[in-house]
Each structure stands twice: as structure tokens, then as C-alpha cells.
């Protein structure tokens, strides 16, 4: 399970919030995906600060992982092994090369009308982004409802969020920097 730290309120309040967070993450299936989460409550202002770091082994999936790539005359033959990624592969290739360069001859075979060494490294699916989105969604249900004024600082493998129910203040940004150091590497 991930490491969750809650502080800022009384012992009771911290314990309550920690339990709620643990249960909610577990129910949503995100428990194993995070490495560390820090929540600081400052009910006086009031504001909530949350710092999250994802696990490093959450690597993006590149085309090489899920297909067999062969160069055939002037084209690149891509045979996709995992059905669930057909759509994403098509979309990515269209995005990078344009629709007219991409041909789907069979259900799982795509021809790219050029040769490119970098094809195998194309990122098809970045789990991290999905984790990020899902974690943010879950946080909305963990934090109290009234805290709708929010500010994010995103990193590659995590983010820091501050939520409050009043307009923001400079102190927030200062504390964000402090936390960034804490969740560290």
C-alpha cells in the first residue's frame, strides 16, 4: 500500500481523514499506483494541500511493446498484437504522420507509407496520465465538497494541489514549494 501522511488538524481529525483516504483509494483501485501522498489540512484559512507521487514503474507503453514492426520495401508494416490498442495506435499515427500516410489493410495490420526508425518508440498509451487523471478525480471525493478553488503544480510523476473555499493567497504558493521538497525523489 502506499504511504499516506495526514497532518495539520487534531489527532482525531488527521486519523479520520487518513482512514477515509485509504478506503477511498482502495475502492477505486488506485492504492497500488501511488508511492506517497501527503495531505496537510489548515482549517483556519481554510485550505487543503495535497502532494502525490506516482510509482516509478508506471512506464508508458510504446509501439514496440505491443506490435511487430517490419520494414517492407518502402513501407513499414505494423502488426498489432493487443486488440485493445488498435484505436490508439491509429490515432497516434494519424496525429504524427497524417491520415493519408496510414493504411489499414487488415484488422490488425497497418502500413505506414514511409520508413521511420522512431516508429517503435512512439508512445501509444501513457498510464501515468491516466493515473494522474483518476487520482485527481478521487481527490475531489476525498476532500470536503466546498473546496472548489484549486491550483495545481504538475510534475512528470506527481503533482501538488491546493484547494480552498476562499480566493487564493500568496502563502499557498510558498507552501507548495516547501512540499515539493518534501515529497522529493
Amino acid at each position: 500500500m502506499m504511504d499516506i501522511v495526514v497532518r495539520g488538524g487534531s489527532e482525531e481529525e488527521n486519523e479520520s481523514l487518513k482512514k477515509l483516504t485509504e478506503n477511498t483509494l482502495k475502492d477505486s483501485g488506485l492504492g497500488k499506483k501511488q508511492k506517497k501522498m501527503v495531505i496537510i489540512t489548515d482549517i483556519g484559512i481554510p485550505a487543503f494541500y495535497v502532494g502525490v507521487k506516482f510509482k516509478k514503474d508506471v512506464e508508458p507503453i510504446i509501439l514496440d511493446n505491443i506490435s511487430m514492426i517490419r520494414e517492407q520495401s518502402n513501407k513499414t508494416r505494423i502488426q498489432i498484437n493487443q486488440e485493445r490498442y488498435y484505436d490508439q495506435v491509429m490515432e497516434k499515427l494519424w496525429e504524427i504522420y497524417g491520415k493519408d500516410m496510414v493504411e489499414q489493410s487488415e484488422r490488425n495490420v497497418i502500413y505506414l507509407n514511409k520508413k521511420d526508425d522512431e516508429v517503435k518508440n512512439i508512445v501509444i498509451y501513457d498510464l501515468t496520465e491516466e493515473i494522474r487523471e483518476r487520482t485527481i478525480d478521487v481527490l475531489w471525493t476525498i476532500l470536503p465538497e466546498g473546496f472548489k478553488v484549486r491550483h495545481f503544480k504538475h510534475f512528470d510523476d506527481g503533482f501538488i494541489l491546493v484547494a480552498t473555499d476562499i480566493p487564493q493567497m500568496q502563502e499557498f504558493y510558498n507552501t507548495i514549494d516547501e512540499i515539493e521538497k518534501e515529497i522529493g525523489e
Binding site: E13, L17, I43, P46, P144, E145, G146, I166
Partner: protein, 300 residues
């Protein structure tokens, strides 16, 4: 003074229970048959319960107290959202319903947050129409204290539920609830729910005693029966168009259409409109009937 009970037993010979209740001067409120079992909710004077229990024992049934059976309780959540529903609000509601009450879950429009928290006058009026209220707040002490200040003006019995075990300065408070991520079914949770129910029961009992000292001209259960017999109340959602209050009833029908008909109903020698005040509810166009007291009528 009538008290509410429920008989749980077999369908076989349940007509004898019904006859016995009628003989003792009780009122049958609701019958719920389920295959070979039946639940009969009824009102009876407390002195008669013992005699009825003799028959119930013979038929291998049981009679349970439902102390909130003649009440409408409001469960107030800061808003209707995932944060508050279904846990713990629906757990509270279901628990109280086991003791007979009709519960309404109310979500405030702007009840969340700390600085932005608001409860409007209309919301307070809607809550005040009920016999009791349960406020389900979160886990932060300061927050609960601020929210509690706003509701101090309410005169109906209320219980505040929150996370911290104790909060000084907040009356009628039960801790260990606050925010839950799942159903409250551990033995600790059940104990907490029992505490809520017991606290509410105490407050409601003293309110009942006060009503007893200056008794109503006619008991609400009797008024409910008269309304059901004399008015055509078909077509309302659910089979409970009349909800009991400690001092009257709520008729779930449009005020414009039904207020005159309700006023014309005969209660014994009286006309209901003469022995009660009939107003439009602040909540969902329904009719609120509040009974007057015997001493008020004598003074007239």
C-alpha cells in the same frame, strides 16, 4: 396516549391480531404482507400492550416498539453529493426507519465549505416542519462549530453528527460519524447509530411529555384514519399519502386542491378545519395540519 407498535408474525390467523387491536380501541395503520409473513403497524394505548402480547405469543409472533412511528424526521446533509450520500446519511436514515419514522433526506443548497457555508431561512422553515432533525456534518471541529451556531435558532429537537468524538460547547452532539467510505455495519458503527437514536429518543420523549400536559384535541393517528376513510387519496406516489407528526399530520396532496376537503373532514363531533390550523408546506406543495389543544378549544 397512543404509542406505535409493529406486529411481526405469520399470515395464518393474523386476522385475530387485527380483531384484538380493534377490540382494544387501537388503530391499524399499515399492513405489509410478505408471502407467509406479515408486518402490522398499529397504534395502541400502552396499558393494552400486555393483553395483546398474550395473543401474539400464542401465535408465535412478536410486538416491537417503534418509538418514532408517529414522527417525520429530517436528515440534513450539507449537500446532496458523493461526499455526504450514501454514507453516512443513508445509513442514519435507514437506521431510524427501523424504529418507525418517516425520514426525509434534505440537502442544503450551500451547506458545504467553511467560509461559504450558508443555510437559508426557507431551508430552516422546511426543517422546522419536521418533528426532529439530524444534521450530518464532517470531520473538522472548527467547521462543525461554525455550522452549529447557525442552527441554534431551531426549536425542534435535533442531533448533530460529526467525526470528532467530543466537541465542547456543542449541544446534542454524537461523534464517530463524520465521513464514511462504506456502510456503517461494524459493531462500533452500530453502537454509534444506537447512540444517535437514544439521544433523539430522550429529546422526543420530553417533547411528548410536554404535549401530554396540554393535550391535543384529537390524537394524530385518529385524524389520519378519518382522513383516509373520508377522502379519496388514490394516486399518490407510494402508499403512505398521510404522514404522522407529533402534533398533526402532513397530507401529501396539492394544497390548492385539497385544503378545503381536508378542512371539511369530520373528526368525532368536530370539523377538522375548526380544531386545527391548515397551512401550505414550505416543502413540495403539501398540506400541513396542526391540531389545537383541548385548553385552546375550551377557551374559545
Amino acid at each position: 396516549m397512543f404509542k406505535m407498535y409493529v406486529y411481526k408474525g405469520g399470515i395464518y390467523r393474523h386476522d385475530e391480531i387485527i380483531e384484538q387491536i380493534e377490540d382494544l380501541g387501537g388503530i391499524i395503520m399499515q399492513k405489509t404482507p410478505m408471502q407467509t409473513e406479515i408486518d402490522i403497524v398499529f397504534a395502541l394505548e400502552e396499558v393494552d400492550k400486555e393483553h395483546l402480547e398474550k395473543l401474539s405469543k400464542k401465535l408465535r409472533g412478536e410486538i416491537l416498539d417503534i418509538p418514532f412511528g408517529d414522527m417525520e424526521i429530517a436528515i440534513v446533509a450539507p449537500s446532496l453529493s458523493r461526499h455526504h450520500l450514501p454514507h453516512p446519511v443513508c445509513d442514519l436514515s435507514e437506521f431510524l426507519r427501523r424504529y418507525g419514522s418517516t425520514t426525509n433526506i434534505l440537502g442544503l443548497a450551500r451547506g458545504y465549505g467553511k467560509t461559504i457555508f450558508q443555510i437559508s431561512d426557507k431551508e430552516k422553515r422546511i426543517i422546522s416542519e419536521h418533528d426532529a432533525a439530524i444534521f450530518s456534518y464532517g470531520i473538522f471541529k472548527e467547521c462543525i462549530m461554525i455550522k452549529e451556531k447557525e442552527i441554534r435558532t431551531l426549536t425542534l429537537p435535533y442531533v448533530i453528527c460529526g467525526g470528532p468524538k467530543n466537541i465542547e460547547g456543542v449541544k446534542n452532539y454524537i461523534g464517530n460519524i463524520g465521513r464514511k467510505s462504506g456502510r456503517m455495519k461494524s459493531s462500533d458503527d452500530i453502537k454509534t447509530l444506537e447512540n444517535v437514536k437514544n439521544m433523539l429518543l430522550e429529546m422526543v420523549d420530553s417533547k411528548r411529555e410536554e404535549i401530554n400536559k396540554d393535550p391535543l384535541i384529537s390524537p394524530p393517528v385518529y385524524v389520519k384514519r378519518a382522513l383516509e376513510q373520508q377522502l379519496d387519496l388514490e394516486g399518490t406516489l407510494g402508499d403512505n399519502p398521510i404522514v404522522l407528526h407529533l402534533d398533526g399530520v402532513r397530507v401529501k396532496k396539492s394544497f390548492e386542491e385539497y385544503s378545503d376537503k381536508v378542512a371539511d373532514v369530520k373528526i368525532g363531533d368536530y370539523r377538522l378545519g375548526d380544531i386545527s390550523t391548515i397551512t401550505k408546506s414550505n416543502m413540495n406543495d403539501t398540506v400541513i395540519v396542526k391540531m389545537r389543544t383541548k385548553s385552546e378549544m375550551e377557551a374559545d
